[in-house]
Symmetry: C2
Subunit: 143 residues, 2 copies
């Protein structure tokens, strides 16, 4: 892993993004930086409630909505059932395995070119997502 996060660097990151760094927000943001699995609300909640027993699922929802609004994280709609979240906001694509549901990052260099949002006329663009669907190696081997 290229970067190393501690409580102060994460706190600083949130402040830069105009987010007041509460204990819960720090925990969610840190979780997403340390778990590059594109977790769901359920997964984040289940893991965080061990460290912060009083945390509620509504707070996870509120926090993720705020972090995404402030562009500190990405919300990923690649899965038809649940929204997934990504703590890394640099440009990259995503892949979901239609068999096991796993979501992984796809480096940009494996694509010809990331679409230039600036080139779409007549709209004020906020974000662009590239999603791939298919079957991962692990699932392909099993069948």
């Amino acid at each position: 892993m290229a970067e190393q996060w501690n409580i102060n660097t994460v706190k600083q990151y949130l402040i830069e993004k105009d987010i007041k760094p509460s204990v819960q927000r720090l925990a969610v943001m840190t979780y997403l930086l340390e778990h590059r699995t594109h977790p769901t609300v359920e997964e984040i909640f289940n893991d965080l409630k061990d460290k912060i027993p009083t945390i509620s699922k509504t707070t996870i929802y509120n926090t993720l909505k705020l972090l995404a609004l402030k562009k500190a994280i990405l919300s990923i709609t690649i899965d038809e059932k649940m929204v997934r979240y990504d703590g890394y906001v640099d440009r990259h694509a995503h892949f979901i395995c239609l068999s096991c549901g796993k979501v992984v990052d796809v480096p940009l260099k494996e694509m010809i070119e990331f679409p230039k949002t600036e080139n779409v006329e007549g709209f004020a663009l906020e974000e662009t997502h590239v999603y791939h669907r298919g079957y991962c190696m692990d699932c392909l081997k099993e069948n």
Copy 2:
């Protein structure tokens, strides 16, 4: 509109895609070819029940799932709440207005290059989607 569809050409299209053309499947497929609004299940159901009063929402769900599986249509997960559907399966991107929820097609020529799915190593890729989020002209004018 470049293409003109009638019941026979749609029937032929379904057969080509290995889908038995029932009345309901023809109605859903025709609806998607004639309404390029990326409708939801609710919208399709509400419009079709006038022509086919006995049609059920479950059939709409079943049919859309089958059509998407056979790659006769696209299922679009650009909207966090509901899946939307597109009767056109040629390569193009989508844009959703974060204000009014409208989903429109974005021609490929407005992007540098559509990502080449063949270039992603280690996965068997089925589909690739490019989604843009932002604000449409109509909503920008109002604010």
